[in-house]
């Protein structure tokens, strides 16, 4: 007899997806900022402080390292040394993978375990030797894991739950990546610096080439923001991520099933709200829109727990 997903395991699957995506997002943000730093004509402060702010680590970092912000130190801090570091994301991904070992697949487990073993040993060496290769390697691992979920797991609730986590995390991370630089982006004294920052944000989201195909030669702030927020065909846009997340949640908890209805309705409202956003409000209230996305996806997390993962609904 097949059994619907155990509620507790559902929670672990969701977090597994989240943490792999978070590790990937951290690597993306660091590699792009590092590359920008090479020729951006911006101070380390201007480049790296927003990265710390986006991670919510500005206060603890500044308390630990008073004095001028140093890019290399920020990278080390966000990769290894703080509560939301790349390392802690990978560890958490692995812990969750261990809890769902019997529900994911052998290949998914092996890839996550290998990433973890690599990171703690050879990864540290590569970080010192070739930073760029290190981040790329992390990203490759993340994409390998995502690919393996699609190609080796049953396409059932477990896969939907894992991707629910990936997609919600992705929406939040993309919102943060845009928000990191939103002030510099719209208020940059030098338009060339603004354009360069926008291109950097596109690169963080693997969106540089897709954007160029949709909007050739039009890399302005509002265009980039619109693309990353609302582009229906781009798999890392916020709207795409949330629409897919809603579809996954609907398969996990279809209408009429005793659990997950409140979370589903909440996510539906968020998607509808995104659909209704007017282009001109993007320029006037981008920060407000992004904050709403980040806060609302966070609220969804606690709703999912109450309504689905705690196993209390319907009991």
């Amino acid at each position: 007899m097949t059994t619907p997903m155990i509620a507790r395991i559902a929670d672990h699957l969701c977090w597994l997806g989240r943490y792999v995506e978070r590790a990937d997002a951290t690597a993306r943000l660091l590699i792009v900022t590092r590359t920008l730093a090479l020729d951006a004509d911006l101070s380390a402060e201007e480049l790296w402080l927003p990265v710390l702010v986006a991670a919510g680590e500005d206060a603890p970092y500044l308390a630990r390292f008073p004095g001028p912000v140093d890019g290399d130190q920020v990278e080390t801090y966000l990769t290894w040394d703080c509560g939301v570091s790349l390392l802690s994301s990978v560890r958490a991904a692995r812990e969750n993978a261990w809890s769902v070992r019997s529900t994911s697949s052998l290949e998914v487990w092996q890839a996550i375990n290998e990433l973890h073993l690599w990171l703690e040993a050879d990864g540290r060496k590569l970080f010192e030797r070739s930073r760029h290769d290190f981040y790329r390697r992390v990203q490759r691992f993340a994409q390998l894991i995502f690919g393996l979920t699609q190609s080796t797991m049953l396409h059932d609730q477990a896969l939907d739950l894992l991707w629910l986590g990936v997609l919600l995390e992705r929406a939040g991370q993309v919102a943060r990546a845009i928000d990191v630089h939103h002030l510099a982006l719209f208020e940059a004294p030098d338009p060339a610096v603004g354009a360069m920052m926008w291109l950097g944000v596109l690169r963080v989201c693997s969106a540089y080439e897709p954007f160029a195909r949709r909007r050739p030669g039009q890399a302005t702030g509002p265009n980039v923001a619109e693309f990353l927020l609302l582009e229906a065909d781009f798999p890392r846009s916020i709207r795409f991520s949330l629409t897919e997340a809603h579809a996954a949640l609907t398969r996990i908890a279809p209408p009429g099933s005793p659990a997950g209805q409140r979370a589903g309705a909440h996510l539906r409202r968020l998607c509808d709200w995104l659909d209704a956003i007017q282009r001109d409000t993007l320029a006037t209230d981008l920060h407000g829109i992004l904050t709403h996305v980040v806060d609302d996806t966070a609220r969804l997390g606690s709703l999912l727990w109450d309504d689905l993962f705690s196993g209390r609904a319907g009991a």
Binding site: R8, R101, P258, A315
Partner: protein, 486 residues
């Protein structure tokens, strides 16, 4: 010039039976063909294979003692790359003996928790049985749902200096280790592909299918398509790898106590994303003391309140049944040959180890006089704990045990130290094979159709030179076990 083979300098111990060699350079007849194939390898080859095997186990996450420290250091169960081999005829005899033993033990449990004939006519002392730590008065009078009590057992066997197999102890509660049998096999197939193919080894990978069939066969009456779950204490348990392994290879969800609750009609339910679903069979890997706080440990936060009530009402099958510990008590062990005669009218096929019961005056006097020569064991401990290895003990340790024996004689038994058989085992320091002591834990599944024995089992090996203790908690490791086909 070819380098000398890796067994060139191997010398079996004079005092023990070596599983592979009857004399230096002389393999036992049943293993000549495999030995010839293995001898084609140099020491460097084995060193390489050993390293490869360890890397595979770590990568696959075949680990234990997970989260033993804050850094999440994990260890693989130490693995020795050279398999232990058992000849076909020898295995056939062992298999018959194991089935006989488990059949008698099953009947003993039904009798003890039922009419108690064997106690009433004095064949086994009543006080010994009812005074056993793991006798559960709460189970008295309950017929187990599904009809079986010992669904899954592991019987520890050793071989003495003459090569005679002897039962060392029975594990009838939640025996562990079978996942290593299957994982070890995957590793040896990778690192010893050629020798393995030539040896013609009985397969072990049918275990999960047999387990799943057995679990379905013991569902409550009237349930055609039972929902089976594996119950683990959680991911911090040292055997969590195995719990997950059993769940995913049988297709049963892996659940923790908090995932289950007892609801309407004393039925057990599991919390899912589609609401509560009824559960029919629970393969529980939780000690029975933590199964149900309503019955066993009111102070315990673990367990599923009401689970024992559901079981006694027959709405759910527990695998293994609660209460089996009374039959694997180390003092009750001494009476298993009598049980076989009593219930089956047969002579025991398997020998066991002579056992002194410290609650008998003359036995206790002998034990206290001969502590230096004996192995003393607490009857209710496992994993190599609560044990005195007389010949290797200090005067202080012996004094401690003497005191404990006098205080609680029922808690102790003593046995002569058996010269456990040895297997050639790779010694990384020496860069050579050395004789190291082994035991064997075969696994037996018993469903509605009677017992089935997994060919082989877990060979545990004492990796420390001179050691007799094979437990993983005490520096032991494991080997793959090859039962050769006839």
């Amino acid at each position: 010039m070819t380098p000398p083979d890796a067994f060139a300098g191997y010398t079996p111990l004079a005092s023990a039976f070596d599983e592979l060699f009857s004399a230096p350079g002389l393999p036992r007849p049943a293993f000549e063909r495999v030995a010839a194939s293995l001898k084609a390898e140099s020491a460097a080859d084995f060193e390489h294979r050993q390293a490869l095997a360890e890397a595979i186990l770590l990568q696959e996450g075949v680990t234990f003692s997970v989260y033993a420290d804050q850094r999440g250091t994990e260890k693989i169960l130490p693995f020795d790359v050279l398999p232990r081999m058992i000849a076909a005829a020898e295995w056939a005899a062992l298999e018959r003996g194991l089935k006989q033993r488990i059949t008698a033990l099953e009947q003993f449990l039904h009798d003890v928790y039922g009419p108690q004939h064997i106690l009433n006519d004095g064949t086994v002392p009543r006080d010994l049985v009812l005074g056993a730590k793991h006798y559960l008065p709460q189970v008295q009078g309950i017929s187990p749902t599904g009809g079986v009590r010992i669904h899954i057992s592991g019987i520890d066997l050793i071989r003495d200096a003459e090569g005679i197999w002897r039962v060392l102890e029975d594990n009838l509660r939640t025996p562990s280790g079978v996942s290593y049998v299957l994982e070890n096999r995957l590793v040896t197939k990778r690192v010893f592909a050629r020798s393995f193919a030539e040896a013609k080894v009985s397969r072990v990978d049918s275990y999960p299918t047999k387990l799943a069939e057995m679990l379905r066969s013991v569902a409550p009456a009237g349930v055609d398509d039972p929902r089976v779950v594996v119950l683990t204490p959680g991911r911090f348990n040292s055997a969590y790898f195995e719990h997950g392994f059993l769940a995913r290879t049988t297709g049963a969800p892996l659940v923790e106590p908090g995932d289950l609750f007892v609801g309407a009609g004393d039925r057990v339910f599991v919390r899912t994303v589609r609401g509560p679903m009824p559960v029919d069979v629970i393969y529980r890997r939780i000690d029975e003391a933590f199964l149900d706080p309503e019955v066993f440990r009111p102070d315990s936060m673990l367990g599923v309140p009401g689970l024992m009530r559901a079981w006694s009402r027959g709405t759910v099958t527990l695998v293994n049944a609660p209460g089996n510990g009374v039959a694997d008590d180390k003092a009750v062990y001494a009476y298993v040959p009598d049980m076989i005669r009593y219930y089956l009218g047969e002579e025991p096929l398997l020998a066991q180890v002579p056992t002194y019961r410290c609650d008998r005056d003359e036995d206790r006097a002998y034990v206290l006089d001969h502590l230096e020569d004996l192995v003393v064991k607490a009857v209710d401990e496992a994993g190599g704990y609560g044990m005195l290895m007389g010949p290797q003990s200090t005067a202080e340790e012996r004094a401690t045990f003497a005191r404990q024996i006098q205080q609680t004689p029922r808690r102790y038994i003593a046995q002569p130290r058996i010269e456990l058989s040895t297997c050639p085992t790779w010694d990384h320091e020496a860069g050579a094979f050395m004789p190291r002591r082994v035991d064997l834990r075969p696994y037996i599944l018993s469903g509605r159709d009677g017992p089935w024995v997994l060919p082989g089992g877990l060979t545990r090996v004492a990796l420390v030179p001179g050691s007799y203790v094979v437990n993983s908690s005490q520096g032991g490791g494991s080997k793959d076990t090859w039962v050769l086909k006839a």
